[in-house]
């Protein structure tokens, strides 16, 4: 397989936008193309991620739409959907096209727009990513999915609501340092614990927000990447699944798809968790960050909450997690999230993250989880 690199990244401001999803993606793509230093003519295909465009904008077939808005209407496109892991799945498939030698330059990313919808409608559309026969009719929401996993983790390991709150406080502290973040304000442990209950034991500040935004990366073959300003190399990109229904999962206190994808990504890269300097992972809810740090092999099962409490995952800690602010503070435009996480790790490995830079970061890990923990992607990137 041929080596593949990220040569350009672009992320819109996260928050509320009045433009269409395709226009949002075009803004991020423009930045990524300029950063890559390539002509739009060089792009041979677009791997595009979006989740609720059909419901929210009455717009399917968004692939050619984004190509048209970008002004490269002849370029082949494919839309990906793996719930919240959507654009990381698009990324992995683009990496494989380049690794196979089919193309030299590809544009990858995603966009999402939900703040034009009432909260109950957005909650309903997101719940479409849980099972339509068993889970949706019971009234389960996404906060509910992670609340069930949180309760299982608390019951098995003694993880506390305070430990979960530490994740939110830390990610908000990081978000202050990220001008693209939806929330650039610190919050206190007391505020998290006193925030309204959404799905017990999860409270408002345990949950990431609804977000509009887009992110894009330009991927290139080694030959093209060598001529670029600052290529960041892809060591591995792996995907794994677990049973769709929560009741089919063997252990609600673990995310098996994370463990499977991580093992595959480490094996492909010939690296282990001890080699990772900086992490962007899927903290859609505070418990999700705790469970991900365990599933990725950074901390023993049951100790992710302690790691959060001790500050080990903070900027300046032994393993900085979510320097961007994570989904919690940066925001979570679901179809764009994977690409935005990849863009952050590229920025970190280039040493260009400014006040949130992890000093000397050389290997970064990106973890993105889709839906009811049924899809996970893990990629490892390196500056060398």
């Amino acid at each position: 397989m041929k080596r593949v690199a990220v040569i350009g990244v672009g992320v819109t401001k996260f928050g509320k936008h009045e433009r269409s999803t395709a226009e949002l993606f075009a803004e991020a793509a423009l930045d990524a193309i300029r950063d890559a230093g390539v002509s739009p003519r060089a792009i041979q295909a677009i791997y595009f991620g979006n989740v609720v465009g059909g419901e929210g904008e009455r717009q399917l077939h968004m692939g050619p739409q984004v190509a048209s808005v970008l002004g490269i209407p002849a370029v082949p496109t494919t839309r990906f959907e793996t719930a919240c892991a959507t654009s990381h799945a698009a990324f992995r498939h683009a990496v494989m096209e380049l690794a196979a030698g089919v193309s030299d330059v590809l544009l990858v990313g995603g966009a999402e727009r939900v703040l034009n919808l009432p909260t109950d409608a957005a909650t309903e559309y997101f719940a479409f990513a849980s099972d339509a026969a068993f889970e949706q009719p019971a009234g389960l929401t996404f906060a509910g999915v992670f609340a069930l996993m949180a309760r299982a983790h608390m019951t098995k390991y003694g993880t506390t609501e305070e430990q979960m709150a530490h994740v939110a406080v830390k990610n908000h502290r990081h978000g202050v340092l990220n001008p693209k973040a939806q929330f650039q304000k610190e919050i206190t442990l007391e505020q998290v614990l006193a925030s309204p209950k959404i799905a017990d034991p999860l409270k408002l500040y345990d949950c990431c927000p609804f977000t509009d935004g887009a992110a894009a990366v330009v991927l290139a073959s080694e030959e093209v990447a060598r001529k670029s300003r600052r290529p960041i190399w892809i060591l591995s990109s792996a995907a794994a699944s677990d049973s769709m229904c929560l009741h089919d999962k063997k252990d609600l206190s673990r995310i098996l798809a994370t463990e499977r994808a991580a093992q595959a990504a480490y094996r492909q890269a010939g690296r282990g968790p001890e080699d990772v300097d900086v992490v962007e992972l899927h903290d859609c809810f505070t418990i999700a960050e705790i469970m991900a740090t365990e599933g990725l092999g950074f901390f023993e099962p049951g100790t992710g909450g302690i790691a959060a409490e001790k500050g080990w995952t903070s900027l300046g800690g032994k393993l900085p997690v979510n320097p961007s602010g994570g989904l919690k503070a940066k925001g979570h435009p679901i179809g764009a999230t994977g690409a935005a996480q990849i863009a952050e790790i590229v920025t970190q490995l280039r040493g260009e993250a400014g006040p949130r830079q992890v000093d000397g970061a050389r290997v970064g890990l990106v973890h993105t989880l889709g839906g009811n923990a049924a899809t996970v992607l893990v990629s490892l990137l390196s500056s060398e």
């Binding site: 109950d120 026969a133 509910g144 309760r151 209950k197 034991p201 009741h247």
Partner: protein, 123 residues
């Protein structure tokens, strides 16, 4: 193989049906073609009594569209006595008395003419 339609028609009549793998003994909730444990295709239907304990639960306070009148309500993953889990809506149990390990019993529910798995107090 038991279809979703058949599973929920039976459930509506108060009967839960699982499937057991004739090769490895795995017990599962339909629908499945191959056994997720051994990938053989040797299912036999198994009646489930509907008695179990709460393995995890949540109280939904911000519901999806159309469910506001029902909120707050609880959803639980219940470990049935036969050794398989099933997710459903909790009914007739005060929310502040819910706890992991509480005994419950299956009760079919119908919302908008759709059959929903429910769990009520154990008798």
């Amino acid at each position: 193989v038991i279809t979703l339609k058949a599973f929920f028609e039976e459930a509506r009549a108060g009967r839960l049906t699982g499937i057991r793998c004739g090769q490895c003994g795995e017990l599962a909730i339909p629908p499945k073609e191959f056994c997720p444990a051994c990938q053989e295709r040797a299912w036999e239907p198994v009646p489930l009594q509907g008695n179990g304990t709460i393995a995890s639960f949540t109280v939904i306070r911000v519901p999806p569209r159309g469910r506001a009148a029902e909120a707050p309500y609880a959803v639980a993953v219940v470990r049935l006595d036969e050794g398989v889990s099933l997710l459903g809506r909790i009914v007739d149990i005060p929310l502040d008395t819910l706890k992991v390990g509480l005994r419950v019993r299956f009760r079919p529910l119908v919302y908008d003419n759709q059959t929903v798995i429910g769990f009520a107090p154990a008798v």
